[in-house]
């Protein structure tokens, strides 16, 4: 289970990075990075997963006393939320930048924005 999720995550990362590093279109790059980010998030969750356990919410099914034996690791769950939100923030920002870049040059080809160099 975990291995599959993790492999999926890694493959998504590699796919995302390949897309981000080979596509010329800025929008495609942004989407590719989103894919890679999703991969990272899957890995985050997968690392916290433990077979045969339940979500870290205390209720009838998970009494306080047995919590330690019943729940999966809650920390990665907390981390992934933060990671998602931050990823979202950066993606938004990239989109806004992309809009402005397009407005300036009328193109979304990343190789056209290389006035600063050397």
């Amino acid at each position: 289970m975990v291995q599959i999720a993790m492999a999926t995550g890694f493959i998504l990362i590699l796919m995302g990075l390949y897309g981000a590093l080979t596509n010329h279109n800025i929008l495609r790059i942004i989407v590719s990075f989103s894919v890679a980010n999703t991969g990272v998030n899957i890995i985050l969750v997968a690392v916290g997963y433990m077979h045969g356990r339940t979500a870290p919410i205390l209720n009838e099914a998970v009494p306080v006393a047995e919590a330690a034996a019943r729940i999966i690791d809650p920390v990665p769950q907390a981390l992934v939320l933060t990671a998602i939100v931050i990823g979202l923030g950066i993606t938004t920002l990239m989109l806004a930048f992309a809009y402005k870049l397009y407005e300036r040059k009328g193109t979304l080809d990343i190789s056209k924005f290389s006035e600063l160099k050397w």
Partner: protein, 1057 residues
């Protein structure tokens, strides 16, 4: 004590509060921003006080009422307090600096700025790896936002490139964090560091690698840093200041430092290697830059690399770690921020456009202080830090690291000082009148921006004082000569008369005060440095006005010389050496066309200084105050290396052949009264160093080669080739300069003989060379001043116009050429005695030949300048100014006196030297009786010689007058060139290319091989730099690929460690 968390609370709270203010309440918003930055700074400062003065210990701050590792905690210690101050102050000052832009953009921009600073503080404070990630992302996003403040349209694309990179970085960082968490069961740095290493093996170390490389990327290592350079180039300078000083230079490197607690010692080499590579490569590539902000960006990358390298050495730095890393870090922060702030005043982006600063002494002082800080020159913190670092590296035998650090420093110094040359020497760009109004002015002196820059200046000097106090050595600020020199900075507004008088009085007084402390050898050098300097300074009275910049530089050089003579340990010796180097560089740079020559002077000198530094470090082997006398006890395997390094270092200053190319230009292009100072006086510093070295270390063998024997050859070759090159000069001052090279060759030869006579002769040369070379430079300088040219073939017949100068030159060349009766002959006489008593016949021949060669060129000074036909434009010429003549007349008198009573000084020295050469004294000593000196080969009695020569001269003169009594006077007339104007008029002058036949015969010897070698080297470096910087294609995607490649390659190399 205020809880540290309030730094974050204030930053955040104010940022949120700004959103509540109305769009047009810009004043209130700005006041809130500044107010919260000030209170953040106050908290940090209060803590620093607590740690530094009140002896407080590190404090842990818990959040959420739970102990770590279960909740996030912050740590506040002295390192954190200092870094927080750097971050907040750079933010505060930048906020003041860019107030106009912030007003334009409103509250949103201000809150982004506050969050940026808050996030950097968070990076420094937090002890949790995931929290570190959050603060890093905040800083990244805020960076992208702050880039929009720039007026440069390209900033937008730079920001996008940065976002791409940060996406990659966050992928790596998150993978690293989650697997580290998996392995260790914690996110707290200290808890993870406590987990046993076995657990961390396998994917633990792989996970750590991902975290480390991600955080390292934020420190912009070469080559994965193209995006950073683009940001530096395009951002608002005030933001670049923060980005360099606070983000890369403080927060990111501290994060690396924290992470290394987890990784442990085995990762230090990786950080070192990346740091060193960045330091050397960035500084190399910077050589080819023309854009000022991009240059600063490269320099910034380099400096951060250096800090990383220091972090990588923390296993051997021990208690000095904070002192060394802090010294370099703070120097970089203050200097780089200051330079970026200055760049904001300047309207155009080429390095040469900074020439507009020339009219503003305070800005020049700021610039100089900042580049000195970056280059690690005294008295700034980086000097103390680099000294300690080099000492420890040498002791621990990490010589490769040492070599790379020094190489990088030299590269950095060379473009920084080249830039300084542009400021002082390049043509000030002019604003085109018809250009559009809205184009930015070339230089805009806005009061609040200047305030920011000057506060950085004040900080730099304050830190210099502080680091002096903290160092294990004396604070250099307590050195009287240095204080005296610096006080001239405050006197810049008074006239030359007052400053010159003060300078002379100070130098003489210092000599008198210190007189009882000197030993005979020191007396000779101190007398030349201080009294000799005072005499030359008499000539400076001829300048009118204020002569801004001259006195602080001159006094800095003399302060260095004065400190050099009395230095007892290697630290003080080296500090003095650096002072005299910087001071003399500034003086040489004052000459009209001296920009390239001053640059090659400072590069050679700094290179030499680094060799000296390494030599001392190898010798000291960890001893804190290494007495120069202990050089004698350096053990066998390293002793010859120490000798070699020090000797080459000192020979750079004496311009031994191969290292001489800086001298002719530097000496010839300098101002009239500066040439004698740098030639007559400064060259002796190198000889002094060699004497100290040889006296203590004696003969050393390296791979069976006697090093003093090599030196002997170098001396002989220098004497021969120096003189030979002088023969073919057309420029009178250049001729004298080459002659100095030759003369120093003699002295070097004498010292390398390693016997008493040789040394005596060297000392004789020290004194003589000072007198006659100063005199000749002054008289030639006076002539050049009157005629407006230094080319000898453009002069002629000046004897009638400038008789006193003629006399001075005549006496001078008699003294130089070593013919009786003047003291030069005394020198030669001792010299011949010395070489006759030694076995080295072959180099001796060279030295013998150089004598007559010297006469060839000296003769031209009289023949071409003073005799022959007077040129038409020179008919109204007057004698050189009184103040230039006065020292010359003093020298004439001194030469006479020294010729008659050479023993006056030398016998004391002789007595002082004899214990050092006990074995050779037995067979080759001198005997001093009255005025007569006796050696194994004969005797020298000055008075009879003087009388005999006088009689011969009188007889010849009388005969000449008698023979010529009927000679007919002919008027000068114009020559008509068969109705044809020559293409190059100078070719028709008899004195042009005077020694053409000799050039035919011996010219092959003076082919500028050495010059060509150094030029090729420089060109090669520039070509490499220009080639490799194309690596930064400007395409954001390429940068990302480079980062990916960097990660993979570093991991592959890591396996090697």
């Amino acid at each position: 004590m205020v809880n540290v968390i309030f730094i974050i609370v204030i930053g955040l709270g104010a940022a949120f509060l700004l959103g509540l203010l109305r769009e047009n309440w810009r004043n209130a918003a700005y006041a809130l921003t500044i107010g919260s930055l000030v209170s953040m700074a106050w908290i940090a400062a209060r803590w620093l006080l607590f740690f530094a003065v009140e002896g407080g210990t590190t404090v842990e701050v818990f959040t959420a009422g739970t102990e770590p590792p279960f909740a996030i905690n912050l740590r506040m210690g002295i390192a954190e307090a200092v870094l927080l101050l750097v971050v907040i102050f750079s933010g505060l000052l930048s906020a003041v600096y860019m107030s106009k832009s912030l007003f334009r953009l409103g509250g949103r921009a201000m809150s982004v700025l506050l969050v940026f600073i808050m996030a950097l503080c968070g990076i420094i404070l937090t002890r949790d790896i995931f929290n570190l990630f959050v603060f890093f992302e905040l800083a990244v996003i805020a960076t992208a936002g702050l880039l929009l403040i720039s007026e440069n349209k390209q900033a937008l694309s730079a920001g996008f490139k940065y976002l791409i990179i940060s996406q990659l970085v966050s992928v790596f960082l998150l993978i690293g964090i989650i697997f580290t968490y998996h392995v260790s069961g914690s996110l707290n740095i200290d808890t993870i560091a406590g987990v046993s290493l076995d657990t961390m093996k396998g994917i633990g170390s792989l996970a750590f690698f991902f975290m480390l490389i991600a955080v390292l990327t934020e420190a912009k290592p070469f080559p994965a840093n193209g995006w950073a350079l683009d940001i530096y180039e395009s951002a608002h300078p005030a933001f670049s200041a923060m980005f360099s000083a606070a983000m890369a230079g403080s927060a990111a490197v501290y994060a690396v430092d924290k992470l290394l607690l987890i990784g442990g010692q085995q990762w230090l080499p990786v950080v070192t290697a990346i740091g060193l590579l960045s330091f050397v490569a960035a500084n190399l590539l910077a050589l080819a830059q023309t854009n000022d902000r991009r240059t600063l960006g490269y320099s910034s990358v380099g400096q951060v690399g250096l800090i990383l390298a220091v972090i990588g050495q923390r296993d051997i730095l021990g208690d000095n770690y904070l002192f060394i890393a802090g010294g370099i870090l703070l120097s970089h922060a203050v200097a780089k921020a200051g330079l970026y702030w200055i760049s904001g005043l300047i309207g155009q982006r080429n390095l040469t456009d900074w020439a507009v600063l020339r009219r503003h002494p305070m800005l020049i002082l700021s610039f100089v202080s900042f580049i000195a800080m970056l280059s690690g020159l005294p008295p700034f913190p980086s000097f103390y830090a680099k000294w300690d670092l080099v000492m420890i590296l040498a002791t621990e035998n990490r010589l490769w690291i040492l070599a790379f650090i020094l190489l990088g420093s030299l590269l950095e110094a060379s473009y920084l000082f080249r830039w300084f040359g542009y400021i002082l020497k390049r043509e000030t760009p002019r604003q085109e009148k018809n250009e559009v109004e809205n184009k930015s002015p070339l230089l805009s002196l806005v009061p609040h921006k200047l305030l920011v820059i000057f506060s950085a200046l004040a900080t730099s000097w304050g830190l210099a004082y502080l680091w002096g106090e903290l160092s294990a050595y004396d604070n250099l600020f307590y050195a009287l000569p240095l204080l005296f020199a610096l006080s001239f900075l405050l006197l810049e507004w008074v006239s030359v008369w007052i400053k010159n008088t003060l300078a002379i009085a100070g130098m003489v007084a210092y000599f008198v005060i210190s007189y009882p402390l000197y030993d005979p050898l020191q007396i000779i050098f101190a007398a030349i440095f201080l009294l000799g300097g005072a005499v030359i300074l008499l000539a400076s009275y001829h300048v009118h006005g204020r002569r801004i910049g001259f006195y602080p530089s001159a006094m800095l050089m003399f302060a260095g010389l004065a400190m050099l003579v009395v230095a007892e340990d290697s630290f003080h010796f080296f500090a003095a050496w650096e002072f005299l180097t910087i001071g003399s560089y500034f003086m040489i740079l004052r000459g009209k066309n001296s920009e390239p020559h001053a640059l090659s002077y400072i590069i050679f000198s700094l290179g030499g200084a680094f060799l000296i530094l390494t030599g001392f470090a190898l010798a000291a082997q960890g001893v804190v105050l290494f007495n120069l006398g202990s050089l004698a006890h350096v053990a066998a395997p390293i002793a010859p290396w120490v000798f070699l390094l020090l000797a080459i270092g000192f020979m750079t200053k004496t311009a031994a052949i191969g290292l001489h190319i800086w001298l002719p230009g530097a000496h010839a292009e300098a101002e009239t009264d500066v040439s004698p100072m740098v030639s007559g006086i400064l060259l002796k510093a190198g000889l002094f160093g060699l004497m100290v070295l040889l006296m203590n270390m004696g003969k050393q063998q390296l791979y069976g080669i006697e090093l003093t024997y090599v030196m002997l050859w170098i001396g002989a070759l220098t004497a021969f080739l120096g003189n030979l090159m002088a023969v073919f000069q057309e420029d009178a001052k250049r001729l004298l300069a080459y002659s100095s090279i030759g003369q120093m060759g003699y002295a070097l030869f004498g010292l390398a003989l390693m016997n008493q006579l040789g040394w005596l002769m060297a000392l004789m040369f020290v004194i003589n060379h000072y007198i006659y070379k100063s005199m000749l430079f002054l008289s030639v300088g006076g002539v050049a001043k009157r005629t407006g040219t230094r080319d000898m073939y453009k002069m002629g017949g000046l004897i009638a116009m400038m008789p006193l100068s003629f006399i001075a030159v005549l006496i001078g060349i008699i003294a130089v050429s070593g013919v009786p009766p003047l003291s030069g002959f005394g020198g030669r006489w001792i010299f011949y005695n010395a070489i006759l008593s030694s076995e080295y016949r072959l180099p001796m021949m060279l030295i013998f030949i150089s004598g007559p060669i010297a006469f060839l060129y000296l003769f031209r000074l009289i023949h071409t300048i003073f005799l022959g036909q007077l040129k038409d434009d020179h008919r109204q010429i007057k004698e050189a100014p009184f103040w230039i003549m006065l020292p010359q007349m003093i020298y004439v008198a001194a030469l006479m006196v020294f010729a008659v009573v050479p023993g006056l000084l030398l016998r004391h020295v002789d007595a002082y030297l004899s214990p050092f050469f006990a074995e050779s004294a037995a067979r080759g000593g001198l005997n001093w009786q009255g005025l007569t000196i006796t050696s194994d080969y004969g005797y020298w009695s000055p008075i009879p010689i003087m009388v005999i020569i006088a009689i011969i001269f009188a007889l010849l003169f009388a005969w000449l007058v008698f023979v010529n009594r009927k000679a007919q006077k002919v008027k000068q007339f114009n020559i008509v060139y068969s109705a044809e104007r020559p293409f190059r008029p100078e070719t028709t002058h008899f004195a042009w290319n005077f020694f053409a036949p000799y050039r035919k015969a011996m010219g092959f010897l003076i082919q500028p091989f050495v010059t060509r070698f150094w030029e090729t080297l420089t060109e090669l470096l520039h070509t490499i730099a220009d080639l490799f910087r194309r690596f930064y294609t400007g395409n954001g995607q390429t940068y990302a690929i480079q980062l990916l490649a960097f990660v993979v390659v570093v991991y592959l190399f890591r396996v090697e460690f």
